[in-house]
Symmetry: C2
Subunit: 438 residues, 2 copies
């Protein structure tokens, strides 16, 4: 709104525009409560009990916490995802409760191989050495003196969805897709530091090593280092959380979570990869041939329907209600360009709308306004089979489950990004199914 | 990076680009520790004590909390900002620790007039009535069935900086500018709901009323309602915090914080404004004439230097070190277009660089690379006087302190957005000063 126009002009034109526009929302679902509906409603409106007592002083909770009524919104874990004990395991993000593209720090998925380390930032040191002219050991304060950048990126464990190569294991959005979160990261580009230290021409690979007791070691090709690799200390405007690697981690936008080494202690440059433990015995994809793919890095283009989900079904809706189907799409190789939605498990698609910010290697929201059919049955007479399919600007599209299994077999664990399906039954309940042949 | 090129081609071209670019960062400040510098450094690198014990299992803290080492990063309060007791007061955001443009929910500034209410979302009701065809009472679930939007906006108390009309009161960035925070908000446009309910042509104003015991009531002109006014339930990807109005608040992007009524209970449409208590006895600007301005709404264009600050000075730096000066800029009337920086209290300016996302009515980061002069003295022989000046796309620029006082006097409390100054003394300490005449 241009403040320099007269207020009256603005008011008149807004009102004309407002009444002219098609009332697309005139059929939005409401329970249709009118003002006279309920004595209880009136009591709540006029004399809510929380309005009749003092609230808390602002001196309480100088680091705030969620409402007690939100106690069910947490990370979750299961024995199925623990390697013997819960120090080598994952606690997954409640994606079904998510809004927008930021995961609040308390809900960011937590993955460790030897438990979450707690590091005194005053004792933290970052060593950068190997094929550099000037090797160095930095304190946190020294690291933070570099010019910083802030970028919004998801981090995804490449095992996200990896339980379901054969069939759906989790009738849950949180467990089937919650090995990922998205945040604003603040740190410094490694290439900025390298201009300072001087990279030797023979350098081709970088080892990143963590200082927790599992000492995660991963080799990163130099291209990625010189592209957008960052050393980060900030997560959504404050320090990293211990679960995300406080005080410093590596961030390789779009690349596997384990490559984004937490509790970072050193970077070493070399002319050869390291073939460390975590990139040979783990984080490789076993193909039906018996050989394993070792060098894959980016989480591929992917998507999911978020609303509805098994946790948050459509049981309160009825025929004729208009509802917003909503979901997420993301790609480690670039920016989401399009998301399609199917109601019949992938035979036919319509194009969904991208909502809000659309950024590279970042969660992207999509939506589609839909009218609930009778008995939640599609026009083909079958129960709704909701599925989304995303595309990125690197030219990739999600495969079907069958295409992916034909290519990768069922033993590769990682990088599963085939199209997933929710079935909506006649009551509006939502179940995780798979369409193996479309 | 286009994955379809050969890896070798990419590697060669990145490397050539890398070595060709001007090494602008070759003089970045580092304490210059080399690898051989310290036995302690080596001990930490090779045998950090946190790497020799198990970390925490991922089952701990299913809603995560910050590292214990971050215990100093909190909201803060002072008696100077309390109206008799701490239920009518404010706890301010530690801006000096901020990164990027998101304020994590636990640090979002907390302002209440009768204490922070705690509301059971099952008992929450939102009444929308008055000059609408179809008045309604909505539960939270019903409200959330509307198509949602997510937008990143700051919320600022109009008293931000209001302690300093006469002289600087707070030698602190947190207290002098911390009456604001920025987050991603999820909710529904009021205009979307109004298409459903039908607005009557005579409606010109909307009352928003809170349900906490202070029952904040503010009148909003219809233009703003039909523009970008939202009813929000989401804050950085989770539910609103109690301090920010859980479960539902009004959000008027760019407008005074109190207008963004928290713990919302009703919206009523009328042909006249209400002149409620909080918009007559409070939140009006008393001019030297003795009359008060009643109808102002948007927080005007503003900025601050964040790095350095009184809390985080330059005492660890010396002559020749290259450091990144950094700050925030924001405007309730539009998008930041430019930020200038001065080293001599506003006589001469250079243009700073905008960093990261630049969004309307949103915090915007800016930065400038600077070489520390001897004794922190500017070329004019005086101690550095760092000041920033922002411009927005509505055509406004921050006034000087003197210009603002000449126009508004010193009693108006609110909407103070004059240019602020930090003086850097010979030790690198940073103090809040004011330049009254430039």
């Amino acid at each position: 709104m241009d403040n320099k126009k007269s207020e009256k002009d603005l008011e008149a034109s807004s009102r004309r525009d407002f009444f002219k526009k098609t009332a697309i929302m005139s059929a939005v679902a409401l329970s249709g409560t009118s003002l006279a509906a309920s004595e209880d409603d009136h009591a709540i409106m006029h004399h809510p009990k929380w309005g009749q007592t003092w609230g808390d002083p602002i001196t309480k909770n100088l680091y705030g916490v969620p409402s007690k009524y939100e106690h069910n919104v947490t990370r979750r874990y299961t024995k199925l995802l623990a390697s013997g004990n819960y120090r080598a395991s994952i606690a997954v993000t409640p994606i079904h409760e998510s809004e927008g593209i930021i995961t609040p720090n308390g809900l960011f998925f937590s993955r460790a191989h030897g438990g979450v380390a707690h590091i005194d930032p005053n004792e933290f040191r970052l060593m950068i050495h190997g094929l550099v002219e000037k090797p160095i050991v930095l304190t946190l304060d020294q690291l933070k003196r570099y010019p910083s950048v802030t970028r919004t990126h998801f981090i995804e464990c490449p095992a996200n969805g990896g339980q379901e190569w054969r069939a759906p294991q989790f009738n849950s959005l949180q467990f089937s897709k919650g090995f990922m979160s998205c945040a604003q990261w603040t740190g410094v580009y490694i290439k900025t530091i390298l201009k300072d230290l001087g990279l030797k021409p023979e350098a081709q690979w970088m080892l990143a090593e963590g200082s927790d007791n599992s000492e995660m070691g991963r080799t990163v090709p130099l291209d990625k280092v010189l592209d957008d690799a960052m050393i980060v200390w900030g997560q959504n405007g404050e320090a990293l959380r211990p679960e995300q690697g406080y005080p410093v981690r590596l961030l390789l936008p779009g690349w596997e979570g384990n490559l984004c080494v937490k509790w970072l202690k050193r970077l070493e440059f070399s002319d050869e990869p390291w073939y460390a433990k975590e990139e040979t015995s783990r984080y490789t994809a076993l193909k039906p041939s018996g050989k394993a793919i070792q060098h894959f890095y980016a989480n591929e283009v992917n998507s999911t329907v978020v609303k509805p989900s098994p946790e948050k079904p459509w049981t309160d809706l009825k025929e004729g209600d208009v509802v917003e189907i909503e979901g997420l799409a993301w790609s480690g190789m670039g920016t989401i360009t399009r998301v399609d939605l199917s109601f019949d498990g992938g035979n036919n698609y319509v194009e969904a709308k991208l909502k809000g910010l659309v950024l590279p290697k970042c969660w992207t929201r999509w939506s589609y306004l839909y009218t609930i059919p009778k008995g939640f049955k599609h026009t083909n007479g079958k129960q709704l089979l909701l599925t989304s399919r995303a595309m990125d600007d690197a030219g990739y599209i999600q495969p079907t489950v069958q295409q992916e299994v034909d290519m990768m077999g069922v033993e590769s664990i990682y990088h599963r990004n085939g199209i997933e399906t929710w079935e909506v039954n006649e009551k509006g309940e939502v179940n995780h199914v798979q369409i193996r042949k479309v």
